[in-house]
């Protein structure tokens, strides 16, 4: 396939200023056990070629499922035709790149597709059964998400590389209803559980069955727990909720295409301006954030991004000061940067690369374990597991809900409150962070549903986080 793509890139030379061809072959499997029954087993396989060209500053992209040279040529012709029709656009040179050559493979100890289907289902059936036992639980689920994706890439800039990745994970969830109240509890996280780069060993390590009883008990306890009181409180965000907080109020805000207004009509812009790089106070001195596409086991890791830029590690925020942004070759050139940060990613063969997060993570602090941080907190709430999320189109005003809040009193946990929500303004919120747990509490969380682009693209990213404490936060807003 790589030879075909190189051939295609050669044929594009001279007909446009730049061309790239990408072949992606994806196998997905989703297993779902629900309410005591094997609900669904879905598998999907797909492949195709996407060709992107640049003529006079205008881009054209075309995708076809026909993964032959003829199909690739048709896609190339369509991409050229679309680009030629576009109104004129500024013709800036793309940021330079070392030609991507070679092969990269992600980690995988146990090929998940090689495990007998019956064995995979048995694990889920056993985990889901642990959620039964009370009529108020109206839905109980255990699910598993698996992916194998092979890709090849060639460009007129001399790239010729291949990559192979496995992604595996899963989770359990219980929904309970009593009267007008509905509560949700999930493990190890909401929105599909925990997924990362790797094989079946990742699913085994989750110990879904071993956590089912706790999930069941907590969802029932939440039905009759007091509602989250409104007011301003000290909060500790658990590591999974902190991952989404970083995702929404740091990661997206630092996508350079947004900063440069390229996404103003859909995903939005950013409260960060192009001139803020290097000087803006983003948060407290405890806030250091890194984008790292080499992080082991993380969904945003790769050998090269979808423009052939080698995976790298970029410090975005250093002790509270903004240092850099997430960029692709075009946005980097527009901003006058010497090179792309390697953040161009595409959702399958039928979408073109756009600026996306890789693995945007908070650096661990020195607050010890979560227990240590709770012990150091006189009065507050520990918020765990995302349930609701929303943020404005400049990534400033946010409001999140979590599945559970644990009351902290005199350094100890003292019961649950239900329907917790909190809201804030991005720089004020990050400025109020006064402690981050240490490396021992630092975990990587995968997100499967990061939406952006038109037509829409769902990207998989990860965030490394440790629980962190924030002062004077508005809670109970809903």
């Amino acid at each position: 396939m790589l030879d075909l793509l190189v051939d295609l890139a050669d044929r594009a030379s001279g007909r446009c200023a730049y061309a790239e061809a990408r072949h992606v072959s994806t196998d997905d499997e989703h297993l779902l056990v629900r309410n005591g029954k094997i609900e669904r087993v879905d598998s999907e396989s797909g492949e195709g070629i996407g060709v992107r060209v640049r003529i006079g500053g205008a881009w054209g992209f075309a995708a076809s499922r026909d993964a032959t040279l003829e199909g690739g040529e048709r896609a190339l012709a369509a991409a050229l035709a679309v680009a030629r029709e576009m109104p004129a656009a500024a013709d800036r040179t793309l940021a330079p790149v070392e030609p991507a050559r070679g092969h990269w493979s992600g980690p995988c100890e146990i090929d998940p597709f090689a495990i007998a289907l019956e064995d995979r289902l048995e694990l889920l059936v056993g985990a889901e059964a642990g959620l039964h036992g009370d009529a108020r639980i109206v839905q109980s689920t255990a699910e598993c998400i698996l992916r194998r994706q092979a890709s090849a890439f060639a460009s007129t800039d001399g790239a010729a590389c291949t990559q192979l990745r496995f992604e595996s994970g899963g989770g359990i969830q219980a929904i309970a209803v009593e009267g007008d109240e509905l509560q949700v509890r999930s493990y190890p996280g909401a929105h599909g559980g925990s997924v990362g780069l790797g094989g079946w060993e990742r699913v085994l390590a989750l110990d879904l069955a071993g956590n089912a009883a706790r999930v069941r008990e907590e969802v029932l306890e939440l039905l009759r727990a007091p509602a989250c009181p409104a007011g301003r409180r000290t909060v500790i965000l658990g590591s999974e909720q902190l991952a989404l907080q970083i995702h929404e109020s740091i990661g997206h805000a630092l996508e350079l295409d947004r900063v440069l207004l390229g996404e103003a009509s859909y995903a939005g812009t950013s409260w960060v301006s192009p001139g803020d790089l290097g000087s803006l106070r983003y948060g407290s001195e405890h806030l250091t954030v890194v984008a790292d596409a080499t992080l082991p086991g993380a969904l945003g890791s790769f050998g090269w991004d979808d423009e052939g830029v080698a995976a790298g590690r970029t410090t975005l925020i250093e002790h509270g000061t903004l240092r850099a942004a997430l960029s692709d070759r075009q946005s980097a050139a527009t901003q006058g940067l010497g090179a792309s940060a390697g953040c161009a990613r595409a959702d399958g063969f039928a979408r073109q690369p756009i600026v996306r997060m890789t693995n945007v993570s908070i650096a661990p602090g020195d607050a010890g374990s979560l227990q240590d941080l709770v012990a150091d907190t006189d009065d507050g709430l520990l918020l765990e597991t995302n349930r609701s999320w929303s943020i404005d189109d400049r990534r400033l005003h946010f409001q999140f809900g979590t599945e559970v809040a644990r009351v902290i009193k005199d350094g100890e946990l003292a019961g649950l409150v239900r329907n917790p929500t909190y809201a804030g303004i991005t720089p004020q919120f990050w400025g109020s962070m006064d402690a981050v747990c240490s490396q021992e509490a630092w975990e990587v969380h995968g997100l499967l549903n990061c939406g952006k682009g038109e037509p829409g693209q769902l990207m998989r990213v990860s965030h490394g986080t440790a629980p962190a404490r924030f002062r004077d936060v508005e809670v109970g807003v809903a």
Partner: protein, 453 residues
């Protein structure tokens, strides 16, 4: 694609044993994005997917591929059979079985000119937006996209169903150098119905020319544009009218059908053949789509069903043709919502009785806070204005709302007579164009819980 979707579906079905359904979706689409009055991305997609779903003892197993050679289709059929059998070994499942063939009136959803996916037409639309923006001293941002999607379903029970749907969408955001912006969008079944010049002018009228004032938290009378109403109704559709969630006690209207849940002026239906909607004759299980009265005169009337939710409901319930996939665990969803118009001539007339309130052009990042309470939160963007003494007046900074969509419908005072087909023009995964036909409305007590800077 030389082989018609139904021919391909029948060929794939011939490779499957026992109870099986094949769904073929052939998507062709073209999207042109723009920012700062220049083109940014242009995407042309041509893809065909074949889903083979086998039904074994109430369990479905599905395998999807976009390779249409015999070997790949046979492999998918074997895979679907294997996984369905594996699921069935744990005991019987909930699916009641494939439907019998039933006639449906073909949907008039195809427009040949739209199906041409002419990039020159898109470029022409972009130039119109750029010119309109330039004349107003603003920059244009947005999307122009058209799609032509042909769907065919063939089942071992004899169903042969096809739906051909074209769609066209354009949105324009006009923005000044200080970031003040206005929005307008149009959704249609044919590209000829899009009017880029008029659309750009609508966006210009909603672009503030001065900085917004800050609005504190509280309850306000609100005039919501049709675009904003459509977003809220989409959420109502799956939170309140999903037959599976309803019968399982998770739905917002569980135990509330037949009771008053909205103002008397609210008539909400799902009407797949409504003239201005994007019509389809069949749902994802090959069942003819039926019109369903969801709320009549403010009283909750019914929820929608697929085969499975109807079977679980019992008591004579049958599928209303609202499946989004065969045997879905997520349940059925209304995809052709129509909210009846009211008595107001236009949005200005809706604002006329309002002493102090807000006008919302567009909602953004709306999400569910509490499912049973239909409690949502989200932001306004691209044109939020104060209503003072009956006039839509100065801009306000974008606000956050946290409110129940059913409460908003309960607090609705009036609606415009005219309805529009509205959508966000979002196409994730396989293109399934849909929208809501609705008017603008005025409601009291809209709960603002915050504001951006």
């Amino acid at each position: 694609m030389a082989e018609a979707p139904l021919e391909l579906a029948e060929r794939a079905l011939s490779y499957a044993d026992g109870d099986a359904q094949v769904t073929v979706v052939h998507e062709r689409s073209l999207s042109s994005r723009f920012a700062r009055s220049a083109p940014t991305q242009a995407t042309s997609v041509d893809d065909t997917t074949v889903e083979i779903a086998c039904l074994r003892d109430g369990h479905t197993g599905a395998a999807t591929t976009n390779r249409v050679d015999e070997g790949s289709l046979r492999a998918a059929a074997r895979r679907a059979d294997t996984v369905a059998r594996a699921a069935a070994r744990a005991g019987p499942g909930d699916h009641p079985g494939l439907p019998e063939p039933a006639p449906a009136t073909p949907a008039a959803g195809w427009d040949e000119a739209t199906a041409e996916l002419d990039p020159a037409r898109g470029a022409e639309a972009l130039r119109a937006a750029f010119a309109g923006a330039g004349a107003a001293g603003l920059e244009a941002f947005g999307l122009w996209t058209t799609g032509a999607v042909r769907t065919a379903i063939a089942t071992s029970s004899g169903v042969r169903a096809t739906d051909d749907v074209t769609d066209a969408f354009m949105k324009v955001v006009l923005r000044d150098a200080d970031g003040r912006s206005g929005y307008a969008a149009e959704t249609a079944g044919s590209v000829g119905e899009l009017d880029p010049v008029a659309l750009t002018e609508r966006a210009r009228r909603r672009a503030p020319r001065e900085d917004g004032v800050a609005l504190g938290p509280g309850e306000y009378t609100v005039v919501l544009s049709a675009d904003a109403v459509g977003v809220l109704l989409e959420f109502a559709g799956y939170l309140a009218f999903n037959g599976l969630a309803h019968v399982e006690g998770r739905g917002a209207l569980s135990d509330r059908l037949g009771t008053t849940v909205a103002a008397p002026v609210i008539d909400l239906r799902d009407t797949p053949a409504f003239p201005r909607t994007l019509p389809r004759a069949y749902d994802a299980e090959g069942v003819p789509k039926r019109s369903v009265a969801l709320i009549e005169g403010g009283v909750a009337g019914a929820v929608v069903h697929d085969l499975r939710s109807a079977a679980e409901t019992g008591d004579g319930a049958r599928s209303t043709g609202h499946a989004v996939e065969l045997g879905s665990a997520h349940g059925p969803v209304p995809t052709n919502l129509v909210l009846a118009g009211g008595g107001a001539a236009d949005e200005e007339a809706l604002a006329a009785p309002v002493e102090r309130g807000i006008y919302v052009t567009r909602l953004w990042y709306v999400n569910v806070v509490h499912e049973r309470h239909t409690l949502l939160t989200g932001m306004t963007r691209d044109g939020t204005f104060l209503i003072e003494d009956g006039k839509i007046g100065p801009p306000v900074r974008d606000v956050r709302f946290t409110d129940s969509v059913l409460r908003i419908l309960e607090a609705t005072e009036d609606l415009t007579a005219a309805q529009r087909l509205v959508s966000e023009g979002e196409f994730y995964g396989r293109r399934f164009a849909n929208g809501v036909v609705c008017p603008a409305l005025r409601a009291h007590g809209f709960r603002v819980t915050g504001a951006t800077r």
